[in-house]
Symmetry: none
Subunit: 219 residues, 4 copies
DNA sequence: GATGAATGAGTCTTCATTCAT
DNA sequence: CATGAATGAAGACTCATTCAT
């Protein structure tokens, strides 16, 4: 269990039990996970709203009504997509930060983690990019905002620690810098093509180089 | 400029249907421009698809059908929003590049122009960020892709010129770097609040500092 | 004045005065007649319902609202088209019948009159053919049914007179025969092209030949 | 037969979307056929355009949206009505013509077939009469024109064969005559009342009498 | 006479969702 | 588990008509 997802807002004490009034099982059967993956790709490709429940069903080779045996709404499908992503990235971030050590190395680690999600969570990140404005307006997805704040805190703390220890310039704004880093990384999902010549870790290295030392030559 | 825009808006000759050069937006009346601005804000706030034609009309204090006296479709409204933005930014970019001079200064200029659009074209940029995936799938908005390529060429050319002249590091990928710069700037629209303490040009300066010299201290 | 048209149902005693509550002038100005002709052609080409008031206005080079200075409704435009046709054809029929004489010659005369309307009243006849079902459902056009009955009576009377006098076969049904003749003539409007090689009177002659003597050779 | 029909109905795979031969109507279920019949009657009575999708649904006792479970558009409903008619009449015509034999008898057969459709395909013929102008303007119904030409060829060929063999007068125009016959028969749908005293075959006999031998008495 | 802006009722269509079988 | 039929609310758009200027 993690701190994200719909269930985190309720204390149902049931572990991996049933959500939303005992309707749709959260138990990840293989079938279910497969459907979530299909849906995620469609959401990423066409946007959440533009993807119909029929699109998803067709992709799965069933009728739209049958989807409701697995999920109780279209929303609960994205929810599963997004919380899956957040569960993983949050855990990895937390581990990196908790390891402590050189702030420069911690930031590098966070950057690598972020770039590392580009491939396995491509769809989730894309949805987050494109449908954020729409989703954040729904009570169900209020947790997105909460998670975002937690993440921001981790980065900003590390950056400021680096500034205090003199490894990062003091004349930059930590929060501003974090936002730029975050955006730059995840927005890459828009043009990054998995399986292309550019591996995420090569991207990370390129980015770290630029971020740490700038694009200007230093004699 | 009008290198952007699309083919059809108000196909019938009723009302203000004449188009400049037969290409892009119709003759702008004050009323029309006002409506475009209202719509742009709604599109930015809720997304293009989630914004109904009734939302726009309600905001304008008229009935939804009445909107069709001014525009022939919801699409043609976004079109006007987007091409207005592109016309302006393209012209500014072109002027900066044509002025020639030191690549570092040209890039700085481009960055300042980009940040400078954040305030007046906040809505257009937001729409572009959030609804890009949806819009680019429509034939009408094929020009978006074309314009994007033109812009990319201007930046990449300038960056490479700087690399050849030794002012920029040779070990970075110009296209990759451009994309990161572009995304970083425009994605800022997501958290940038006009009228806040951070003026766009302060942002630009901050960003230039980081981009040129990195976040690491250099003795 | 005739027995057709909207005014025939009211006794306004005003001659060519104003119809429908004194709104729209029935006075045929040249402009007005021109507009009616434009509208008639559009109605014929696309059907009454499919022709919008904007189509008509555009054809006339004005805006749709401006049409309402000439007519008080779209219906009143078709009304003018149709009653113009009926006024003329009814008068001609009546004259032919009143002339009396050989029933065979009278029928031939009626046939020629009918074919003769094909060119000048092409549009009206087309509308009648295509939109009859729709128009007859409207109280305003109840007179269409009345006129049809008057016409039928004239033909049937003449045919029966011919049967009694032995010039027409007694073993055919007069009403049935009339309907076939009528339909055959007016439905020709669907393929008859004015200005083509087939003049209406040649058509009439062809038809009379077939109708009187059949298509089978008689030794 | 299925030489008629069009391309798309129920593009999505949901529900009964498979089409016979990939061309024309979708798999007919009883429900579907019932709905088509209801719609056909309404189209005939009020015209295609004047019949709303709600009219059809109300007649079927469902909501208008539910119709889209069976058909993908209002157009595809008429399409089914019309191609059902054409499939049948074309096949019957073809069989009669292929049987060869005396041209006079073949023509008589064609006439009887045509009159025979009056009762079972009353609605389709009415729609064809009234909405032809509107429908032929739509790409989807281009096949109507093609079928019409095929039919014309069959009749004209037979008539000309009869002229060459001396059974039909040489001084009539075969195409013109065909058109008159066709129109006369099908336009009868306008006044023919099924279940009335006049059976279609009695009509056919009456018509054959007139057509073959004319209405004039021959000593 | 004409314009331009607006109305308001209505059109076809879409879609998430439900539920009996 | 899945189907097939249906719901119901909403969406974009159309169009005859009105009216102040």
């Amino acid at each position: 269990m993690t701190t994200t997802g719909t269930e985190s807002a309720r204390a149902d004490g049931e572990g991996r039990g049933r959500r939303r009034g005992g309707r749709s099982a959260a138990l990840p059967s293989e079938r279910r996970e497969h459907l979530v993956r299909l849906a995620a790709d469609l959401f990423a490709e066409k946007g959440f709203q533009a993807t119909t429940v029929r699109d998803i069903a067709r992709e799965a080779g069933i009728l739209s009504g049958s989807l409701y045996h697995h999920f109780d709404s279209k929303e609960s499908i994205v929810d599963e997509v997004l919380s899956g992503f957040f569960d993983e990235v949050l855990a990895a971030y937390r581990a990196a930060v908790d390891r402590g050590g050189d702030p420069r190395e911690t930031i590098a680690e966070l950057v690598r983690i972020a770039f590392g999600t580009l491939e396995p969570h491509r769809a989730a990140i894309t949805v987050l990019q494109n449908d954020w404005a729409y989703l954040k307006g729904m009570p169900r997805f209020a947790y997105l905002t909460r998670v975002e704040q937690d993440v921001e805190k981790m980065w900003v703390d590390t950056l400021e620690r680096g500034q205090r220890s003199g490894v990062f310039r003091a004349d930059i704004d930590a929060r501003l810098t974090y936002r730029m880093i975050r955006d730059t990384i995840w927005v890459a999902v828009r043009w990054y093509r998995p399986g292309g010549s550019l591996r995420p870790q090569a991207l990370a290295d390129h980015y770290l180089k630029v971020m740490f030392d700038g694009i200007v030559t230093h004699s």
